[in-house]
């Protein structure tokens, strides 16, 4: 029961919300559409649902072309960011709605709704109204309502966006467990990279109406396809350089900070090519580098923000050519920061696999 879209184009006036988007959400998987606001992810989701129609391109659900079908015929479950529960119906009636409009027998409705109430752990609240529930409970009801008529696919539009941070974390873990239980093909929109990495089987990164990268969470984080993905998912320090040698899966780069050794990745760059390398702030190490280790750099601590489990450092790196120092970000786990260390000269290093070519 996969979702396949091909060549989708959608314009709102002069604004191109989707620019020839082709992507697949695999059957039984939980796929995240991740991107900044205005990247077209919600538009894509709404077109898949049939709530909006594309100017060009096709939408296929489970191998069937549904491009011109209305939302009623597509049998999708849609969960809205602001729940959109029916305010005048009880929780029971909300969940039963999809079955009632399909004129299912009374016993079947009763049985299915009870089953879903158990699934979302709100069995006791079946007689309440949406206004009497907390945000997290409402979103669980919205999810149950979308699942009631056994949709082919489940589409969620920023499902945790309207919740506070703590509830959001609980609920996304719950959604992941739920998905492991019911395995319905799901696609959810989020702008929160942490959420996408934690919950999804695969992540589709979007920007400006285009798809930048599709891959497993570790893949998009460890091997970002380009600078946008590297910068949007997690944080990155970028350095420009020229490839001087490639061997054994490593690439030697000539950079303004001296020579760096980077992971060459699956498609090694050509010698002489100009490349960018990304170094994650958490990959920077302040312990003593082993003798002969590559990628040892020097800098000065500009500022340190202490956050308990982690300290965020801002480092100023002097370049070989005379010019303004470059600022890098570094995270130090379990930091020992008691005194003001601003201005301190530090030496730090990172392993070659943490210097990622993008």
């Amino acid at each position: 029961m996969s979702i396949v879209v091909a060549g989708l184009v959608k314009n709102f006036g002069d604004f191109r919300a989707l620019d020839h988007v082709s992507v697949e959400a695999r059957a039984g998987e939980l796929t995240a559409l991740l991107g900044p606001s205005g990247s077209g992810k919600t538009t894509l989701l709404r077109i898949i649902a049939g709530l909006e129609f594309a100017d060009a391109g096709t939408v296929g659900l489970e191998g069937e072309d549904t491009t011109d079908k209305g939302v009623r015929e597509r049998q999708v479950g849609f969960v809205f960011q602001h729940y959109a529960l029916f305010r005048h119906m009880t929780i029971f009636e909300n969940i039963a709605f999809g079955l009632r409009v399909r004129k299912r027998p009374r016993e079947e409705v009763e049985e299915r709704v009870r089953e879903l109430l158990r699934l979302i752990q709100l069995e006791k609240l079946d007689g309440r109204y949406p206004s009497e529930l907390s945000g997290g409970q409402r979103q669980r009801v919205a999810l149950a309502r979308a699942l009631a008529a056994r949709p082919k696919v489940l589409l969620l539009d920023e499902p945790f966006g309207a919740l506070d941070a703590k509830v959001r974390k609980e609920l996304r873990r719950w959604l992941r467990r739920l998905h492991d239980e019911i395995h319905v093909t799901s696609l959810f929109v989020t702008h929160d990279q942490e959420e996408a990495l934690e919950v999804a089987d695969r992540v589709v990164v979007m920007n400006r109406g285009r798809i930048e990268q599709v891959g497993a969470p570790a893949e998009v984080y460890r091997h970002p396809a380009n600078r946008f993905v590297a910068g949007f998912i997690g944080e990155g320090n970028f350095v420009e350089g020229r490839v001087v040698a490639v061997a054994d899966g490593w690439a030697r780069l000539d950079t303004p900070f001296g020579t760096l050794v980077a992971s060459a990745g699956t498609t090694p760059p050509a010698v002489g090519a100009n490349v960018s390398a990304c170094i994650r702030p958490e990959a920077i190490r302040f312990d003593a580098a082993p003798a002969g280790a590559p990628n040892v750099l020097h800098g000065r601590l500009c500022r340190t923000v202490y956050q308990g489990e982690v300290a965020q450092h801002e480092l100023a790196l002097a370049t070989a050519a005379s010019g303004a120092p470059v600022e890098w970000k570094a995270f130090e786990l379990n930091p020992v920061v008691g005194t003001d260390r601003a201005g301190e000269e530090v030496t730090f290093w990172m392993t070659p696999e943490n210097v990622i070519l993008v």
Binding site: A49, G50, L51, G70, V71, R72, Q75, V76, G77, F78, F80, H82, A84, L85, F86, R87, H88, F97, G98, V101, R102, R145, A146, A148, A149
Partner: protein
């Protein structure tokens, strides 16, 4: 802030000037309402019942003199019976007009409110402005416009006749149009004119009430309903209509009160012919001109009672509408 939650604390007057302003304003308001609202309403009932319950009842029913009985007594009785019959006809006419106008305007109001809030279409602001026209035009002018359009020398009379002729052979509607124009049954100085004029004067009430309610609710629930497999009618009936229920009833009640009480526009189009097309407000004027004050006030009690009931329902419903939005 809810009323009384903190306002009394915030504006609590210090002794002295504050006290004077507070009670001065309250006194002025109460006196004003007393003179302009309470006294006239009480007066209506006072005048209507001043001759006793029997006299009051005579405005609505008097049994005519038995056949064969003659004389001054019998003539007077016949007059009273005729009077009462005309009063009853006026009540019937008012109910009849309201029964047509209120459902029509409820439908129109829902359609207009739906169209202007759920869709983004060009010309919306124009429609919103047009909906308000009846509020800004004097009802007498509205009545005159209808006379100009549909009257004996009206602009639309010729086209309507042509329409009747061309459709007359085949279509029921053609027959209806022809019937209205030819057979002496006209729109103006007849009940269709009264219905048209009343429709015009009352059409903003439901729409104006529903537009803010629909706007506040957005279209999320409708989208959810459709995504769950509801068809257009199920979506409207099970979701939208239930959500706007109280606003709709509220609008209908206001619309009804105005439809039953309308004087100016109806006065122009009805022709004010005795015994024909006369609604309660018109009949009250006729009685008043005949120096039949007890009769006029007796009928006026009906409109006053309608107003009181409307006010009570309005107060109850306003809370419900607030809750729903």
């Amino acid at each position: 802030m809810k009323p009384g939650e903190g306002s009394s604390v915030a504006v609590r007057p210090r002794a002295g000037a504050g006290w004077v302003v507070r009670w001065g304003l309250i006194g002025f308001t109460v006196a004003f309402m007393g003179v302009f609202i309470l006294v006239p309403v009480v007066n209506i009932f006072w005048q209507a019942f001043s001759g006793g319950l029997g006299k009051y009842a005579q405005a609505f029913y008097v049994s005519p003199p038995l056949p064969g009985v003659e004389g001054a007594e019998a003539d007077k009785l016949a007059d009273l019976a005729e009077n009462a019959a005309q009063n009853r006809a006026a009540i019937g006419m008012t109910l009849f007009v309201a029964a047509i106008v209120v459902p029509l305007n409820a439908l129109f109001g829902i359609a207009a409110a739906w169209w202007t809030t759920k869709f983004k279409v060009r010309g919306q602001s124009l429609l919103l402005t047009l909906i308000d026209v009846p509020f800004s035009v004097s009802p007498v002018i509205a009545g005159l416009v209808f006379v100009l359009l549909f009257g004996a020398q009206g602009y639309l009379r010729g086209p309507l006749q042509d329409l009747g002729n061309s459709w007359g052979q085949t279509l029921f509607l053609g027959g209806l149009v022809r019937g209205l124009v030819y057979t002496g049954t006209h729109i103006i100085f007849n009940w269709p004119g009264v219905v048209l004029a009343t429709c015009f004067v009352t059409f903003p009430f439901v729409a104006r009430e529903l537009i803010p309610v629909l706007q506040a609710q957005g279209s999320d629930e409708e989208q959810a309903a459709v995504s769950l497999g509801a068809n257009g009618w199920q979506m409207f009936y099970r979701v939208t209509l239930v959500n706007i229920k109280w606003g709709l009833i509220y609008g209908v009640i206001l619309c009804n009160a105005r439809a039953m009480g309308e004087f100016g526009a109806v006065n122009v189009v009805s022709g004010n012919v005795r015994g024909a097309n006369v609604t309660v407000p018109l009949r009250i004027q006729q009685l008043y001109e005949d120096f039949n004050l007890p009769g006029a006030f007796a009928l006026a009690t009906l409109l006053a009672a309608l107003a009181v009931v409307t006010l009570i329902l309005k107060a109850v419903l306003e809370k419900r509408v607030e809750k729903a939005t």
